[in-house]
Symmetry: C2
Subunit: 420 residues, 2 copies
């Protein structure tokens, strides 16, 4: 329906890139993961993933604030409320988002959870579900159930994290995972996180889909508290296109298998745990920005000198969300006026003459006007694959960092014919 | 620097389209307009425009809320404060926005106003100035002054509204004007409006540049009040790309030449005047959406059944601003889930099951799920050049309308190499 451009931007063909970032011994104790092509996607690519813990998990989650929150989110909330310290399974499908699907959609989400529970000898309330894909399409329940039964049977004897990571992908061009070990009170606690992104990415509470598994022993309330804090400075500071999805879901499962003394809020151990969770969320969020739909460049925006954190975040996100900044970065055009304009649109205290803007280390803007940096140096800085924009508001001591990607022909192409 | 696409979307070459919408006898009494190519644009296209009134005007204006408001806006505010009932001239240049240009930029804006005043035998405080173009570049004062002197000399003997409309254009593909006569108390009051838009269009107080001339006799405070109300439901409900410019300016000049009894606030005559001003602002705003950078389709979003006006506007603007909705419209894909998602992201009271969405008159979404309308009918509706999205929130009686355009390859192309 839409002609393809002949520009050489990033392909969205099936990614050959392998899952990296962790080895077989890096998996948190007691967790398994498996994915498969269950026939939910017309393309035949992997579309169903099961994460399983051998032991009960304390769980925490954040969800989209969109009022059309998808059916699986309703099911997740119910499971989390009923069994916050006894979760075992996260079941994820891609292909259909199961959002705006009415009563039938909710029945499907419940049936999928029930099928996983039955196959694994659990209660449905020990299962959390998540979906991603086209909004408004019903998931075909028969192939989904068949796939769930297969995964439940096979996961008893093996894991395949590569397939697990691929089963949650939509327009992502590479599978996304992050691993991190951390020492807490003489014990090694491991974190393994997965996520998918690519489009409709402007999280408000959480990204499209992300799952973090850890063998830490931590109070459930402390876990939720650490998660909410981590999200504020990671997923919520990353944007691809300014659209918050109906399905944004981030779930953390902590099964306590590492045997460390229970982590309680306000302790030194809690701070170490929280920092590690923040770090893993940030790594995952950056991968999503790097793999934004049609993206050719990764952009980090660092704001310092703000009167307070809200101001710093507002300025960073205003730049990250500006279509004009993002197209200029795609074109390699050091059109810093658009950055100044985006700063000026943010609800933040500032005086234009106090603002200093740098791009790739080069001075762009100071004292209310353009800096004397030669254009060719700025043009060179704009041609990098990784662009760093630094803003000093000169109004205080608070700071924030946001991540995004450029806005390209391929973003338009992917989204003009995503469904058709 | 950026390869061009071979997609056949709208050209941005010099527009051959003529100014339409009014004839020589439609000009409000006592106004003149002239434009020329003064050499401020490298392309050699028209870049300087003078609007002149033979008699003193009561003036009103709204400006951008961007903190990096351009230098000419400072000059406008000063003139308006000093001589709110004695304005005579609006001087506009395109090519450079004179924003983020520091002290030199402010001196240039003042010098341009002073030059126009001197050439026409007026005080500088009787002149308002506006600029549009690249942010951060200084206007070359010598050719600007030469052009101003030429325009001031020639405007004594002739008007050329076509050139006046072209002198304020940047990436616009056609000149934009709207005319409307209205009967007030037995007198015919005329309105003639001009505007330019195309990119960085997400007004907050006013659009990029717009000027409305009227021969009505109206109190200055009443004029400002009518203008502020008109903007809220016209320019502020229109978006191209979600970016609010540093230069947004809307000025109304009313010279009273029609001889009608002075219009005061709260009277029947004031209501007629306000409605007419709203109508002309809406016509101008729609032209800007229609000519959004790279646009191939015009989109009107009508929201009814909202709990209050704020909710209605928030939902209409959320849809109008969504990159995903706008790319789907470009691709002709009836991906209504994205519309639902955009509705759900707005800060408005609603229950998903109460929301009804129609596209081109066809039912898309109701009772929390997809409607039974056949896909081919929806696809046909999406292929129109003019797309109408109707949303009933089922939460009250308030309504709002917003306008936008689709997001295309050409938007990316134009903005990736605008400056280079």
């Amino acid at each position: 329906m839409v002609k393809k451009t002949n520009t050489a931007t990033k392909k969205t063909a099936p990614a050959k890139e392998r899952l990296t970032g962790f080895g077989p011994f890096d998996v948190p104790l007691g967790f398994r993961g498996l994915g498969m092509a269950a026939g939910l996607k017309a393309s035949g690519r992997p579309d169903l993933t099961l994460f399983y813990s051998d032991f009960p998990c304390r769980a925490a989650a954040v969800f989209t604030k969109n009022k059309f929150a998808a059916a699986p989110i309703t099911v997740c909330r119910e499971s989390l409320r009923a069994e916050p310290e006894n979760q075992r399974v996260i079941l994820v499908n891609s292909g259909q988002a199961n959002a705006c699907t009415g009563k039938q959609g909710l029945a499907t989400a419940r049936a999928m959870a029930a099928c996983a529970a039955k196959s694994l000898g659990l209660s449905p309330k020990q299962v959390m579900v998540a979906s991603t894909g086209v909004i408004g399409q019903q998931i075909a329940l028969a192939p989904a159930k068949k796939g769930i039964t297969t995964l439940a049977r096979e996961i008893a004897s093996r894991s395949d994290w590569e397939m697990a990571a691929r089963g949650i992908m939509t327009t992502d061009t590479f599978p996304k995972a992050a691993f991190m070990p951390v020492r807490i009170g003489g014990f090694t606690v491991k974190f393994l996180g997965f996520c998918k992104g690519a489009g409709m990415i402007h999280p408000n509470m959480a990204t499209l889909l992300s799952f973090v598994l850890t063998d830490a022993n931590i109070e459930q309330h402390a876990l939720q508290s650490a998660l909410s804090a981590a999200v504020a400075t990671s997923f919520n500071m990353m944007t691809v296109d300014g659209d918050t999805s109906t399905n944004d879901t981030l779930i953390v499962h902590a099964n306590g298998m590492t045997g460390n003394p229970l982590i309680r809020k306000g302790t030194a151990a809690f701070r170490i745990f929280s920092d590690a969770l923040q770090e893993i969320c940030e790594r995952l969020a950056k991968q999503i920005a790097r793999d934004g739909e049609g993206a050719t460049k990764f952009v980090e925006i660092s704001v310092v000198g703000a009167a307070n954190s809200d101001d710093a975040r507002a300025v960073a996100k205003s730049i990250a969300t500006s279509n004009l900044v993002k197209t200029a970065i795609f074109g390699g055009d050091p059109n810093w006026g658009r950055i100044a304009c985006a700063i000026g649109n943010a609800p933040a205290r500032l005086r234009p003459q106090d603002v200093v803007v740098r791009l790739g280390g080069r001075l762009l803007f100071a004292k209310g006007g353009p800096a004397a940096t030669p254009e060719r140096l700025l043009a060179k800085a704009m041609k990098q694959k990784e662009i760093r924009i630094e803003v000093n508001l000169g109004a205080g001591r608070a700071s924030a960092t946001a991540w995004t990607c450029d806005l390209t022909y391929d973003y338009v192409r992917i989204n003009a014919d995503y469904r058709t």
